[in-house]
Amino acid sequence: MKPSKFHYHAPATIGDAVGLLGAHADEAKVLAGGQSLVPMMSLRLATFGHLVDLNKVDGLAGIERSNGHVRIGALTRQATAEHDTTVASDVPMMAKALPHIGHFQIRNRGTVGGSIAHADPASELPAVALALDATLEAAGPGGERQIAAADFFEGTWQTALAEDEILTAVRFPVWGAASGFAVEEVARRHGDFAICGAVCGVELDGDAIVRAAIGLFGVGPTPVRSTLAEQALIAGGAGSDLADIARQAADPLDPSDDIHASGAYRKQIAAVVVRRALTKAIEEARS
């Protein structure tokens, strides 16, 4: 299990990196943390003539708060974000999702942007980005553009990024103080890709729910945002029948079978994880 040959590039600027992607078109691939990409290369499930390593690019990593948002640079290591106080206080859903990613050795190397750009439908961060209406910043030959998370995930490992575009940062809106968040997932073992998981957030005003986020992962080719269930929750408030809300979130899903679970199981469990996550999120928002 050894990767096939490639040319290695370690550009120092994002402009150079974009230039290399443009120059080598479909032969080039961006390398960030490499925790998903390198095994695919070793298994020779993926081969690239040119690897563009972002790890030497200046300014791609970092976490900052401004204008009601937290901006996380794409190359920020997952471990860094996991232990960051700004992320913990201002994007708690992110902080709660991160420990579910693989194992700490993976998070030491894996990046926030890499996980989102890789767009594995069973991974946590794409669902977090989708549920929180994150804004994705991308650099391309024409400069920077911003992509709403709702427009970003197109299929398994497929995103709205063009071949010569690089995800540079993710911006998360900061919710109000009376908010609660929870991440619930069922995985065969600790650290495995979830069979099915939910990321939920609520913002309360008394018993009224003024903002709700319900995201699901592991249930289809992309992460899923349960907008109808969110609306029902907002309509019903904190005293809603959460099992019923969760069923509404699960109803439209049509997950497929694999060796770890049937599609029917995933759909059934989706309602369980959503209910559990919402219960915890509401509890947290109240406390």
Binding site: S4, Y8, G34, Q35, F104, Q105
Partner: protein, 165 residues
């Protein structure tokens, strides 16, 4: 396939010694450690980042060496299992605890556990049992059922073992 691809040369500090390594860009760090640096204590158990046998410290952080290319390591400081024992060659606390608690049998996964526990217990002086088990969840062992390894971590933290006979 026949296209010529030039080798890369990187300077790495390995277990405190600076080394220049020249290799193909595609060569995995795990292979460079084993073959170029002839530090064969770093074991390759899966080559897809799932078993943890190849775990090393890169700039102090525990990472899988099979998920890195040596080409990326210019300027990095790497510690392998050969660099864990005390300067006089005696076993480190983690190593001694692994021995005391029969935390290894065939020994193949052991270097990865030694590195993982060394990094984890450096950063967590009083972990719970669940935190210990979570910390080693990215390292697979087929011999021990993990009990001796968990007990080794407990010993390093000065706590009693569980599940004694």
């Amino acid at each position: 396939m026949s296209e010529t691809i030039s080798n890369v040369t990187v300077t790495i500090t390995v277990n405190g010694r600076q080394r220049d390594v020249t290799c193909e860009p595609r060569k995995l760090l795990s292979d460079v450690i084993r073959e170029e640096l002839v530090l064969t204590g770093t074991h390759v158990g899966c080559e897809h980042g799932a078993c943890g046998a190849c775990t090393v410290l890169v700039d102090g952080a525990a990472v899988r060496s099979c998920l890195l290319f040596a080409a990326q390591m210019d300027g990095a400081e790497i510690t392998t299992v050969e660099g864990i024992a005390n300067p006089d060659g005696s076993l480190s606390d983690v190593q001694e605890a692994m021995r005391d608690n029969h935390g290894l049998q065939c020994g193949f996964c052991t270097p990865g556990f030694v590195i993982t526990l060394t990094a984890f217990l450096r950063d967590h002086t009083d972990p719970t049992d669940d935190e210990i088990r979570e910390a080693i969840s990215g390292n697979l062992c087929r011999c021990t059922g993990y009990h001796g390894i968990v007990n080794a971590a407990r010993q390093v933290c000065g706590r009693a073992n569980g599940g004694e006979s």
